[in-house]
Amino acid sequence: MNSASGCSRLEAEVARIIGGIGTSHIPAIGLAMAKNQYRDPYWKPFFDAYQPVRAWLGETRPTVAVVVYNDHGLNFFLDKMPTFAVGAATEYCNADEGWGLPTQRPFPGNAAMSWHLIEQLAAADFDLTTCQEMFVDHGFVVPMQLLWPDAPSWPVRTIPIHVNTVQHPLPSPARCLKFGEVLGRAIESWPANERVVVLGTGGLSHQLDGRRAGFINKPFDLYCLEKIVHEPELLARYSIRDLIEFAGTQGPELIQWLIMRGALGADVRKLESNYHVPISNTGSGLLLLEKAA
């Protein structure tokens, strides 16, 4: 059948979100991978939980990964700290963070798609910092290594989105869920035939600093892992201070998961969920959500 208008062709050429992944990003994971400790009794259950997620990625073959993370003092210092920063480069380099994590090969970007997302987010009143050069730290790199450990070259082009979780005040969970909703619509209005996976990285409960260091809250982490699937608005009610009390000073990294969740829209299916504690000082969550077609 002949399509006179060509509409069907155009409709096909729109990016589609296939799913979202929530994952820890702590440096200890990167160090364990560098030392090839996949079978070490401490690490094996943690790494094994990623097998079905990797299998899903192998089947669905995303072409773009939007990676929501927080920089921990590699690209941004306290002289200038953006609340939301979007990478708009053709390539992102990793670099020395100071404490021995091996530097990884560069990650390919998708600058044209980045600018589309930036335009759409700004049109919805999100004020962004745009980055045509941007180092990506372990918050971005460790999840990429975890998800594609054996790839001879990175099989996806990437769009890094940094969220400030270093210098308070931080953006609220409600704001981040909303950001994710707009981000999702922006991705799915990009006129190119891309299959997109959104990564929300960081968390879950952990506290590195102060006399309360080592604080982990397993019941709260499990509550978040459950509720984020179909009732993320329950988690969006918290203040940042609430998240610190419930999940430690680094617990607010949950806001990156909320951006991922917001991007997927209302209808999702949970394919995998795993919680492992402790990994280093952290309650480590893993979640794979498929966007309903």
Binding site: A28, H72, G73, L74, F77, L78, D79, A95, D96, E97, G98, W99, G100, V166, Q167, H168, P169, Q207, L208, D209, G210, R211, R212, A213, G214, I216, K218, P219, F220, Y223, R237, Y238, S239, R241, D242, I244, E245, F246, T249, V277, P278, S280, N281, G283
Partner: protein, 126 residues
């Protein structure tokens, strides 16, 4: 009577009390700790880590650390660094020079041995 399953719920707290043992890195801390954190940020470069190792106090002075901050660095006291405005993400780079990982730092701040600190973390999974 129908049985009710008890699942924990976590209602928003809506309070502003201080959280025990916890410093929120706000504008006040950021101003207090700027010099210290800026020095730590420089440790992303190997040459700067080496320069610090060569002469710690000279390196601290170059970055304008005050007496309290210099003393905190000299004594490797992480709680004192935080009290002087240090942010843990930047302090981690300094701790790396001292050969301390986040569990060593956790043990030091909580006043227990590293083994005891690890035991506490393992207990969180129980």
């Amino acid at each position: 009577m129908p049985q009710t399953r008890k699942t924990p719920t976590f209602q928003p707290l809506a309070n502003s009390r201080e959280i025990w043992g916890t410093t929120i890195f706000d504008g006040c801390a950021a101003r207090r700790g700027y010099a210290l954190n800026k020095m730590c940020f420089s440790f992303n470069e190997a040459a700067n880590r080496e320069a610090f190792r060569q002469d710690e106090d000279a390196y601290c002075r170059k970055y304008g650390l005050d007496l309290e901050q210099r003393e905190a660095v000299r004594s490797r006291n992480v709680l004192a660094m935080i009290a002087a405005g240090g942010n843990i993400y930047y302090l981690a780079k300094l701790a790396g020079i001292f050969g301390l990982n986040v569990q060593d730092v956790g043990a030091q701040q909580t006043g227990v041995s590293v083994d005891e600190f690890r035991e506490r973390l393992l207990a969180a999974g129980g």
